[in-house]
Amino acid sequence: MSNAIEVRGLQYRAGRSFSLRDVSLTVPRGSIYGFLGPNGAGKTTTVRLLLGMARREAGTVSVLGHEVPGELPQALAATGYVPERPHIYPSLRVDEAMRCHAAFHRRWDADWAGRLQRMFELPGDRRVGRLSKGETGKLMMLLALAQRPGLLILDEPTDGLDPMVRRDVLTALLDYVSEAGATVFISSHLVHELERMCDWVGVLDHGRMIAEMPIEVLKGGIKRIRLAAPPTNGHHAPFEVLSRAHDPLASCESWVVRGWSDPMMSYFDTAGATVRDVVDLDLEEVFVELLRSGREVKA
């Protein structure tokens, strides 16, 4: 069994305005998978479907080899979850929340939970509802990690947290992943954050998957090329043109292409164009271009 999560042909509809259409994704075991998408793309809905919290219309979902929802308890026993909004009973004290969580998770590591509590400086006698946003984020991460899961599903885990808290939370996460070899499925729209830690990326927009690949392939294959005397169209190009824009100041055109490799330079020589430079894009630029091209295709 090589994949931690396998989703095939997932369909879901919520009202008339939102649906997931034929979503398929594969999260390799041991990977850190960034699930990217703008607000409202359907990331949280997908996460809820992975955890059996919503009922799909069609498709199959498998988490750590367990079919969802048929074998949901087995899947949840090995999955740590940090939701977008706090999900712990606000009237409980921190210590009580930890005791409660421990009772349901057989692999709960009390020693490590205690160490994380001290590291995160979480007051045991404080009610969960009285914790700051940062402290609540730390507590949710503590609960997810101390159950020693094989898979962590994190839905915008650092959204709204200050940089110090964000660093603490991500450090604890990465320490655990490197020690336990766990898989992480992290949904976020904070692209820069994911760029530093993920090795796989999936991009969701308007309920459709528009890309899924290793991050190096994604970043390496998408370039911005500045051209003088560009061809009028790129229909026969050996790469996919995601966007093209005229730059009047530099009197050239800027193309964003997918599937680029250096030998393809000969295409421009043949077409009579001059390549001024080929620039790597960071993940955020790649993400924006993917969204833009995906929406143009849809339109």
Binding site: M53, P86, Y89, C100, H105
Partner: protein, 225 residues
Amino acid sequence: MTREMTQVLRLQWLASRWLLVPLVLLCVALPQGVVRLTTSFGAQSAGELLSAMQQLSAVFPYLAAITGAAVALAAWNWDHRINHVYALTLPIPRARYAFLKLWAGAVILLIPALAIWIGAWIATSTAVVPDGLRTYPFAFGARFLLAAALVYGTMFALAAGTIRTTLIISIGLVTIIIGAALGLPFLERQFEIDLMTPLYTALEAIGRLPGPSQVFGGSWLLIDV
């Protein structure tokens, strides 16, 4: 008792303890109040005492219903506040989680039941009972527990879903009742068949012996012949 059961019981206790305080106080005080009032109004003969007690004892079925409903609503209150997300991510079958909550609430329900039994026992043991009458504190406590448990079970099932689900079920029930009241006489006239008799029989089965809600209709007297 497993660790899961202990924790669910603990959670339920934390969620309902402040609600239980006034209920327990009422459960201890009301039987004594009823007995004191009955005797202080100058009920000298057995008949007068029974008559006065019958009127005042009408409060107990309501107390049982309020107690059962309060414990049931407290059972799901915390889950509603976080849209059930925590419960849905626990690695146990959902039916088992619901059963654990039902069980924990039933255990908590024993507290007001015990309180009313203590209140009834103190009230009857300190009262001057006319000849020919006997006290029934234990039977009274058992009746209270059964009535509260009946309401608890019903309200627990209703409150288990989302507020939307609860509304749909409630509106559905009201629609069925109104539909039956208006539609059945019409159907009877149209097709010349007897539909009301089976309906009344069914309702009577629920409301009378051996129907479950009979526990509300019987004698709630602490002192009887």
